[in-house]
Symmetry: D3
Subunit: 323 residues, 6 copies
Amino acid sequence: MPFPDLVHPALDLYESAVDLPDDFAAFWDATLAQARQAGGAVEVEPAQTTLKLVEVFDVTFPGFGGHPVKGWLVLPKDRQGRLPLIAQYVGYGGGRGFPHELLHWAASGFAYFRMDTRGQGSGWSTGATPDPVGSTSQIPGVMTKGILNREDYYYRRLFTDGVRAIDALVGQHFVDPDRIAVCGGSQGGGIALAVAGIDARVKAVMPDVPFLCDFPRAVRVAGRDPYGEIVRFLAQHRDKKDKVFETLRYFDGVNFARQSQAAALFSVALMDDICPPSTVYGAFKAFAGTDKTIIDYEFNNHEGGGPFQDRQQMAWLCERFGV
Amino acid sequence: MPFPDLVHPALDLYESAVDLPDDFAAFWDATLAQARQAGGAVEVEPAQTTLKLVEVFDVTFPGFGGHPVKGWLVLPKDRQGRLPLIAQYVGYGGGRGFPHELLHWAASGFAYFRMDTRGQGSGWSTGATPDPVGSTSQIPGVMTKGILNREDYYYRRLFTDGVRAIDALVGQHFVDPDRIAVCGGSQGGGIALAVAGIDARVKAVMPDVPFLCDFPRAVRVAGRDPYGEIVRFLAQHRDKKDKVFETLRYFDGVNFARQSQAAALFSVALMDDICPPSTVYGAFKAFAGTDKTIIDYEFNNHEGGGPFQDRQQMAWLCERFGV
Amino acid sequence: MPFPDLVHPALDLYESAVDLPDDFAAFWDATLAQARQAGGAVEVEPAQTTLKLVEVFDVTFPGFGGHPVKGWLVLPKDRQGRLPLIAQYVGYGGGRGFPHELLHWAASGFAYFRMDTRGQGSGWSTGATPDPVGSTSQIPGVMTKGILNREDYYYRRLFTDGVRAIDALVGQHFVDPDRIAVCGGSQGGGIALAVAGIDARVKAVMPDVPFLCDFPRAVRVAGRDPYGEIVRFLAQHRDKKDKVFETLRYFDGVNFARQSQAAALFSVALMDDICPPSTVYGAFKAFAGTDKTIIDYEFNNHEGGGPFQDRQQMAWLCERFGV
Amino acid sequence: MPFPDLVHPALDLYESAVDLPDDFAAFWDATLAQARQAGGAVEVEPAQTTLKLVEVFDVTFPGFGGHPVKGWLVLPKDRQGRLPLIAQYVGYGGGRGFPHELLHWAASGFAYFRMDTRGQGSGWSTGATPDPVGSTSQIPGVMTKGILNREDYYYRRLFTDGVRAIDALVGQHFVDPDRIAVCGGSQGGGIALAVAGIDARVKAVMPDVPFLCDFPRAVRVAGRDPYGEIVRFLAQHRDKKDKVFETLRYFDGVNFARQSQAAALFSVALMDDICPPSTVYGAFKAFAGTDKTIIDYEFNNHEGGGPFQDRQQMAWLCERFGV
Amino acid sequence: MPFPDLVHPALDLYESAVDLPDDFAAFWDATLAQARQAGGAVEVEPAQTTLKLVEVFDVTFPGFGGHPVKGWLVLPKDRQGRLPLIAQYVGYGGGRGFPHELLHWAASGFAYFRMDTRGQGSGWSTGATPDPVGSTSQIPGVMTKGILNREDYYYRRLFTDGVRAIDALVGQHFVDPDRIAVCGGSQGGGIALAVAGIDARVKAVMPDVPFLCDFPRAVRVAGRDPYGEIVRFLAQHRDKKDKVFETLRYFDGVNFARQSQAAALFSVALMDDICPPSTVYGAFKAFAGTDKTIIDYEFNNHEGGGPFQDRQQMAWLCERFGV
Amino acid sequence: MPFPDLVHPALDLYESAVDLPDDFAAFWDATLAQARQAGGAVEVEPAQTTLKLVEVFDVTFPGFGGHPVKGWLVLPKDRQGRLPLIAQYVGYGGGRGFPHELLHWAASGFAYFRMDTRGQGSGWSTGATPDPVGSTSQIPGVMTKGILNREDYYYRRLFTDGVRAIDALVGQHFVDPDRIAVCGGSQGGGIALAVAGIDARVKAVMPDVPFLCDFPRAVRVAGRDPYGEIVRFLAQHRDKKDKVFETLRYFDGVNFARQSQAAALFSVALMDDICPPSTVYGAFKAFAGTDKTIIDYEFNNHEGGGPFQDRQQMAWLCERFGV
């Protein structure tokens, strides 16, 4: 129960020391260009449910490498004009699940999209998207999948999927391209930060207890997985520390935060031993946009603000997007 | 991971040996009469949310002893005529939480009510309903609160609240009194069974991995709390075994099942070490209504069918209530 | 095994920052006056045991609200004149148990009283005293029972019982009213501190590894329950932090310590992760009486000094009370 | 929480298959003869305490090999004639502790002796008796100390100490040699059974949740240490199974039970995963004396009956010894 | 510590009910043909070590799909003629490690080859072989990688690698093609069984506590991972049970055992809760070869016989191969 | 996973405060003289194995008190002249195991000796050496065996055995007395340090993650056993702290390090919670020899460098000994 990491006031003073590679933006520009070049079709199929107040669509879009990626799109049945879009990315191990599992954004008048996570989708909710790419020797999980080379690293593919989801939706007739938000908790928050750092179309980002931030500190402070996958990898591959951290610089939420001008609503839990609070503050402090807020949950572990934060998000985003 | 209890085919053959007191129905008739006599006002106040597709009401109704009990009522904004009602009771330790946390019933066209749980509402979701009654010596939790006397037992009050919730809603203009369903998971499933056993207005009951069934077996088989609260109580109060089981007969889901003629959709998880599957089968086998179905989740622990079962429920209930 | 909290010399320097409410004494004066006004009879019934060297009495006295509270009184069979009285309060979850379980005080020539704990008495020893008062939403256990209002908080009743026990015994013919001591371990030590802080008749207090001290630090440092009940409550009721700590100020051992002029023998365990040593030192430092001693057990967790401390207590108290 | 072993009615039917060596009695006769031949002085020194109702003596007597063994003797201060003697042996890892820790036998009019345990006395209470004998390769703890040879096995020395304690006390002027009882919980119960099986002067034996019974079954059923020490030994010494069980036959409570004509009061806990109930029943069934009783504690683990059983013992023994 | 599965005599009587697909052999023939068609070069490079009594070679050979797979080959420096070959496969999560880690086969006069495990090699020893193939949604680890289709399942590739290793070595001038043995513990034992079931060149197989046998029982009995990966997959993908077990039939050690005529030395641990003993006996009973032996380790968990079994293997194989 | 102790740069700056007794060297001189005086024969018997490249001998030599101590000696079969000797001591709980378990030193051209550990040899590998000396009250394990007196402490005997092993081997015709090295991991590293501190014939010492260093800090920082044995001893024997630390000064690796002029290759793991890194640095800093190196394994717990460190050792020692 005691705090696993810095508390205030030390927490306020913490600045991440993550190194920003000179070619960070170039790497992501090239990655995205390559993904767009791979092309692929977007499919938006109506899905059968008992839900009457919303319409649900089973979406397939081309992600990294043109690989097909799934997602659920949920729209208010009774809608007019172009809707603000909110894309949600999901936490480690999960997948897009079923459309009825999260309805509060559509019920608040948003076009809501929940992106599946390639190759995961078995741990706490189901997914339907393969990751067709293999790996060098790895620890079970995706944290060390391809970690010895930035080109091969799993998150290169997943973050690209996150941007390509926006590509797929922004041109739909029901989406207002000037009101695009991304959100997610834990890994989903990390993806949201990455997408907001790569893609300037994103006007608002809401990372909850984000994962994938401030790696050099995170792997040394976190008390539980998934950061521990990297620790266990290094415990065996005792000679690979430099390579691993060289790769991770290109995927660090702190570096993405340094690129984004979106409005931002972060949350952090001070008893979080999965995503230690200093690593979240590290990203928040580095966030370049000036309309930024962070909400502390002092007595929470990684569950963070839960439904309290949902309510904060709904109010904050409705205000910003005039909903 | 191994199965903690009977598996098929032994599971199919299992019959609960719980004793049905001669005055079981009389006890509950008297309890309910007493609660109704205590009276109290029903309040249905509109609640502020960002949700646009539904209307939310903060309901207060008189439960056992006339004590005020809270709940959220969520109605489709765009509705016509009387709606089928579904009342959900929640699991051990939780409370009614926030209205946006579960929207799929309202989104499917139901009047959806989630009842708060007196004195709980702190463990995994928040509640707002006190239990103004004290207790003799007890183990932390409610399982042994007042357990030495059937009049004092906590669940006498909570089950009565469950019926009084129906009382409060059945007369509302938007509710169709001929289409009343109750549901819930774990403790919520136990309450649903009790309400269906006491109150013939209930036409459909959907207990998921129900708790509070087949106590004499459950306390001897369950590997984890909350049944363990009773074990720990008896471990100290070594001379109170007879009294405890005498009380529990009046609160056993098996005995409620024997009273109900509702349509029933049960679920059970074969790796459940909180609510052992034989105890669920014990109630299912004893269920008096003839339109009854049970769905097995072989490789699940107490999470049971989760969103898979939600979908089963929506399809099953929409069919029965013509939604 | 490592130390979960401050060690020396930092421990020596630690001063609790707990705030003393202006109306602290007034609150307790009013509480006690109200309890005394509620009245109720004291019953002292001989109890049947095989014990021949002592006489045992089953005592019932009126506690908070006049509610009947039980206790065991054990007197040397062969006694002369008025005896020094020692009242012991018991640890979290326990009750008064059986009279034969602790005989060393009576065997040393004291009138020994072990007070039961209302509503507990099931966790590690049995009790026989109800707590007839209910609660708002709470975490299992008593730490958050009524915590949103100082009038309703569980410990208001229990501490009052502790003083009312002295009221019940001080007038008995075998008790010397000038030699009254209180003691207890963990929760019992917290009650002893409270009673010594409220009631100037108490001339000596011996809190062992006391609980219920320095709440704001304790809930943030303790590694295990029961302080964790408050953490879990706040983890759900994320908006209630201020209310909770406002209540706790009136029940903090540090504030009681500031009121007492009794002689005091504290003990503390430096590896205690239930009652962190800094919180005990916080109370000890604040203790107003000048005849005060604290004994450190460096390599102990919450078991503290155990029988070593019993011996310290017997020697220390016999000396002070001329036994 | 579920039962770790047989329950009724299977438990009633269980008979231990432990083999009784032909030379069992001869082995123990020779062992005892050898210990008595080693000789050594008995010292009974008054001890300083604050206790006024009893007199305490620090006893040293010659045990196995003439090695000095300690114990506390507690006598009612006010006594007349010869007292019944009760010798208590203590549980695994503990020692004689302090005399004030258990006073209910002396307070009931008995000469009470608590024997120290050679080489243990550090785990949960302190001891002061060395075991001056070494060991072949062993698992930490005493279960496998010298286990490859019955002459070297640790319990050969400890059980002999138990009989030699009777030797030391039976001749004291305050002891009635016709009223000698032995008792103990867990390991203490195992020693008590052994002493009662070796020494016909013992007229009553009260083993609580006894350890060291029915080894072949115990090591295969027990879920926790200390039986597990033997399992871990055999897990390494994969070729020593036959030797180990050959030794253990000479130290099995079932075989001692087969030798005793004392009156016996056993207790057993049905959820005990340290001393599985079938192993206790195995000894009880085999017990040769006809005045034998066993008390079940259905919902207890190894704590067994605790103070409830103390009361049973006091009543049972006072009746048998006319106290 | 208690036995997690059947014990003797029930264990002796157990027969696996795993279904043998009609096209089992055809599936593997086709798989192997396809792998051989993919071709690829074998490289045998001398490796630098301080070892003087042996020569070490870093081998790369084409596995499934022609993918390069690594291994260490260790030969006695002083050798004459063709040597018997022993290929070892390694346990779950590990890789080929360093050549000095296991020298007893080369020191006994064998050509010893330790094959790397594609995509693993990070959990307890290091590997250097990628698995270039991706996966549908999976649980971390390889147990559910591609599990929805027998063509895609991870073990199709790994077992093929195992046979292709023999292909690579059998033609080397220092190998005697008539004396080829395979061995391994846990996953390594499962691979060894598969290779012996596919490839008749294998004359001796020594599976220790083999994994990957009798899947339908194993996933329902095993208390720990890795079988649990499949349980967790099915706990989420509640609708995929049939597909999963349909795939697993083609990879079950019981079915491979039914195909092999090699001499076999199995080992099994009766307290093994990773690879339950009945699943090992299931494979042993089904083993078609008539020169078969199984060695029980009654008091061991998954560590099994360890160095005791090494010695059994060395003696058994030296005898069979005339070394 | 977080670091359990100091990290760099604080780790670099750490200096142990362990006190060096004035008579430290005198104590060990006397101890050794006494052991040598006890005498005893050295036996070197050929052992039967299947190993062909090496010769194995079963050695018995007189250790402390002349007690017979076992070890395995492994020599290259094909050897010329005198070989460098490396003696390895083993980790806590283990024994010498089987000769085939570690062959890389002999395969590199060394005379390799693995000493058994008296009285241990049951926890993770087997031993065959008794410790014929008993103990005062102790915690299971050897850490507190005889801890109240430096003459009686277990490690006095074990460290002496370590030196006497050198005595036994140095005179054998195949050993080069000018090239003697000692090594070991954990407890084995602690013994190696002690031997190098006592015996100037040792020219190289390679302690891996050494145990038994900097006791006063170690027992207060280590998160797991075996240091915890001392903590638990002191938790009961609350009055023995001074005696315990007085004894430990004579057995502290820091003090042995201060005596040695050998070349030294240490390893340390920064996540080691059994042998905290500061305690290893404490010994390394104090090491008197000037040819000293320490290798950090940042992301490892007590497994340390494993086979990576083996390779470091082989290269380092071959260079120093010209092999």
